[in-house]
């Protein structure tokens, strides 16, 4: 895939280098093995809030200076938080690699926070939540659907946090989380672009090397009981004008559960919902003229368990019950009869081409490798991806469908218009 070089510093920092000299640019990405699912109870949103506060300064790089310095040197930077990881990414000219590495290493251990710095940033996060969720009925339903899917496991909590808990987050909470989880032995450095393994080794030893290894808690999350009863959530809003529906089944991930089903599920999602030749699109949108769009998705990149989802939007004034029935009919059909060799061949071809297209640009390698290494997989797994896709046969797809599409393990989410009253 990416043919990366890798080594580990004495303090436990794993370093991955993907050489790519197509342009004089590097992406420097630091991934931490910590995410929202690692938060202490009652502090939902602290992982993401800390990610925001990581830009609030150290003794040598004051608040706001990190991004300003990156920008003044012609680069761009960003950061993101998910359930299982937190990452900080800069894209700069290759001669600025040392600059961003120095600053990123600095804030791994030297972050200084005060309540005064935290207060406006809490406002930013509240606005972010309003933008992403408060203003969007679809996003509100997604949040509720997740909360209903999991009884105990922290995947039930939104990454950004519940509003009431965001309001109570403090600089002290953020620092406690930072000190517990941010350490070289809990991080992965990925550098992709116009550089070499030797150069990155030299720079990483110099800047990350001196940081002390620290004891980091195990990532033990609450276990999730087996789902015995199908669930359904319905959200009605006067802001919804076209109904939609999704059905989600809990599924193994690449790292947890019956992992042998993971690659077949990835292919199955493509055969069901990948583009206009896929089964769901053909049946619901083209043949039955019942939906304006249909999709399928497999979330396999989760540390503890995955999800498989099919979804569709009705037409304007359309019948969502009919849409749901058609989705379930297609699911039953694939569980019973499996898929054809021709479909499987086409999906494999698309996936294998995607592996080539992923090398077009610098963004994909750090993303794919970072996600893999923070969710229980290895570089060998990433590199073996094309062979593992190629090895999937139709029987494996049928077995995976039968294992996952069990009614009692489903959660159906329906978004409906509601006459304004």
């Amino acid at each position: 895939m990416f043919d990366p070089g890798t080594f580990t510093l004495d303090n436990g920092l794993q370093v991955v280098v993907v050489e790519n000299a197509r342009a004089p640019i590097v992406v420097h990405a630091l991934w931490y093995r910590v995410g929202a699912a690692d938060e202490p109870p009652g502090k939902s949103g602290i992982a993401h809030f800390l990610e925001h506060l990581m830009f609030k300064g150290t003794p040598s790089v004051p608040s706001g200076a990190f991004s300003r310095i990156v920008a003044e040197n012609g680069g761009s930077d960003n950061a993101f938080t998910s359930q299982d990881y937190t990452a900080y990414v800069q894209r700069v000219a290759s001669d600025k690699l040392e600059l961003v590495m120095r600053m990123e290493a600095d804030r791994m251990v030297n972050l200084r926070l005060t309540e005064e710095k935290a207060t406006p940033e809490r406002g930013v996060v509240r606005e972010e939540r309003r933008t992403r969720t408060g203003n969007s009925p679809g996003a509100q339903l997604y949040e509720r659907r997740r909360a209903v899917t999991y009884l105990r496991h922290p995947y039930r909590i939104p990454v950004i946090g519940w509003k009431s808990e965001i309001d109570g987050l403090t600089a002290r909470d953020a620092l406690a989380f930072y000190r517990a989880r941010y350490a070289p032995n809990n991080a992965i450095l990925i550098v992709a672009g116009d550089t070499t393994v030797d150069e990155v080794r030299r720079l990483a030893r110099k800047h990350y090397g001196p940081l002390p290894r620290r004891k980091v808690p195990e990532r033990t999350r609450a276990g999730e009981p087996d789902q015995l009863a199908a669930k359904r959530v319905t959200l009605k809003s006067p802001r919804v004008h076209v109904p939609s529906v999704s059905i989600t089944w809990r599924a193994p991930s690449f790292a947890a559960g019956e992992t042998r089903h993971a690659y077949p599920l990835l292919l199955l999602a493509d055969m069901l919902g990948g583009g206009s030749t896929s089964r769901l699109h053909r049946r619901l949108v083209i043949e039955e003229k019942s939906a304006s769009g249909a999709a399928a998705g497999y979330l396999g990149t989760a540390l503890d368990m995955g999800e498989f989802t099919v979804s569709a939007s009705a037409l304007a004034g359309g019948d969502i019950d009919r849409v749901e029935a058609l989705l379930l009919d297609e699911i039953a059909r694939v569980a019973q009869h499996g898929v054809t060799e021709a479909e499987l061949r086409r999906s494999k071809r698309a996936m294998l081409a995607a592996a080539i297209y992923a090398r077009d640009g610098l963004g994909a390698a750090p993303r794919v490798i970072g996600r893999a290494l923070t969710t229980g997989r290895t570089i060998a797994d990433v590199e073996a991806w094309p062979e593992r896709i190629a090895a999937v046969d139709a029987a494996a797809v049928r077995d995976a469908a039968r294992a996952v599409f069990v009614e009692r393990r489903s959660v159906t989410a329906v978004l409906l218009p509601e006459p304004a009253g």
Binding site: S63, T131, S292
Partner: protein
């Protein structure tokens, strides 16, 4: 048969990407960045004339045509065409802009012959069979219905309406359920005949292909198109300002669209304005972001960009904040824009310290050639870069600390504006769906 090739000597640092100008045997021009490191070819192209040229009562025609060109062409019906694309794992797509009709093709180089052949077919012989036409119409109408309360869309439409009045620039690209219902197959055929023509065509290509072969492929893909089509000049327009429109909606967060007259791309000060806007409103360390987000936590994001239409330039920006805080946010917006105009020692200093993004971001940005859906400004970066690259060096140097505040004033005064006051704002709330928070 060889293609005439002219490599431009660009006024850029030594490692700059080399952009070659390729002229096909049939006289079609393309701009090529040859890159053999991976077996992928990406093509972007644009025809003159976008949705702003849609006939009255048929708004959304260009958008509908864009959705239908890959739904059957020549001897292939919709399904056969899509399967042919799938078989070679290529992606082909079209998109109607306001003033341009864009297309893109991405293929593995081993399948380039089939991929260019499918592109040629889609452009020269689209079928517009009844089934796909009605299906796409249903999908577009569902999309319009579904988004009709989207605060961002409402604010954006209201803003363009305030600024451009009845000018075609103010029209919604996707049309309305009524106008989309009125589009006929004959309208679609006329669109293809009159608008997909060689005159004004711009093609950018990056990837695993030689200039000589590209020349042949350009003729294959575009050579069968008519030399010229119906003239499509838009009337001139002067953006109107000084208005504030409030749209009431029951949502927790208001969306604000703000902006003013800006500069057209051919304006000698365009790049100075670009720098000015960058300082004011682009990125985490922009002035607006510092004052409104970093210091006070009023927004998750605030930014603006230049929108250089052919007949009028604009600066358009947006922010979103809790309903009760809209007044405060707008006050800060006004104050910062005023500070930019007055210039002053601090302003000049800020400009001179703040360098433009150095080459990687500005000229040699290294991102996937295709396969993502960039916004309108990014869409034809390559084509545009090629066109402006030879002039850019000079202009960027001119965009100094002294020039930018003066430009901010000019941009206002030239359009009879009150200094310091955003020209138009349309306010309403705005959603976005992305389960993964980002800073």
């Amino acid at each position: 048969m060889g293609a005439a090739v002219l490599a431009l000597a660009l006024a850029l640092p030594a490692a700059a990407t080399e952009i070659q100008r390729v002229r096909s045997p049939g006289g079609i021009e393309g701009w090529l960045v040859e890159d053999r490191s991976i077996p992928v070819i990406s093509v972007r192209f644009a025809f003159r004339g976008g949705g702003a040229l849609d006939p009255d009562g048929k708004q959304g025609l260009a958008n509908m045509a864009a959705a239908l060109l890959d739904e059957g062409a020549g001897d292939l019906d919709s399904r056969a065409f899509q399967e042919a694309l799938d078989d070679i794992v290529a992606s082909l797509g079209f998109d109607a802009g306001v003033e341009r009709f864009h297309g893109s093709l991405r293929t593995l180089s081993e399948h380039r012959a089939s991929a260019f052949a499918l592109l040629a077919k889609a452009l020269a012989a689209p079928r517009f069979d009844a089934e796909p036409v009605e299906r796409i119409r249903r999908q577009i109408v569902a999309g319009l219905e579904s988004g009709k309360d989207n605060p961002r869309r409402l604010a954006g439409r209201a803003w363009y309406r305030l600024v451009f009045g009845d000018h075609p620039y103010a029209r919604p690209l996707a049309g309305t359920p009524q106008s989309v219902a009125a589009v006929t197959v004959e309208d679609l055929r006329r669109f293809v005949r009159e608008r997909l023509v060689r005159e004004g065509l711009v093609v950018g290509v990056a990837g695993d292909i030689s200039p000589a072969e590209l020349g042949l492929r350009l003729d294959e893909a575009f050579g069968a198109l008519p030399a010229s089509g119906a003239p499509g000049a838009l009337p001139g327009v002067v953006p109107k300002g000084g208005a504030l429109k409030v749209i009431q909606k029951q949502v927790p967060q208001s969306v604000v669209v703000f902006g003013q007259a800006g500069l057209r791309r051919d304006d000698p000060d365009f790049y100075a304005a670009y720098v000015m806007n960058h300082i004011l409103a682009v990125g985490r360390s922009s002035r607006l972001n510092r004052e409104i987000r970093e210091k006070r936590g009023l927004v998750y994001s605030v930014s603006s960009h230049l929108a250089p239409f052919e007949k009028a330039g604009l600066i358009v920006g947006g922010l979103a904040t809790a309903n009760a805080r809209v007044g405060t946010a707008l006050g800060l917006l006004r104050a910062e824009r005023g500070r930019g105009e007055r210039g002053g020692a601090r302003g000049r200093q800020a400009v001179s310290q703040r360098r433009l993004p150095s080459p990687p971001r500005f000229d040699r940005e290294h991102r996937p050639h295709a396969g993502r859906a960039p916004g309108e400004p990014a869409r034809h970066r390559l084509c545009r870069q090629a066109l402006v690259a030879d002039r850019r060096g000079d202009r960027r140097r001119r965009a100094t600390g002294r020039a930018a505040p003066a430009l901010a004033r000019q941009a206002h005064h030239r359009r009879r504006g009150q200094p310091g006051r955003p020209r138009c704002r349309a306010v309403t709330p705005r959603p976005r769906r992305d389960p993964t928070p980002r800073t």
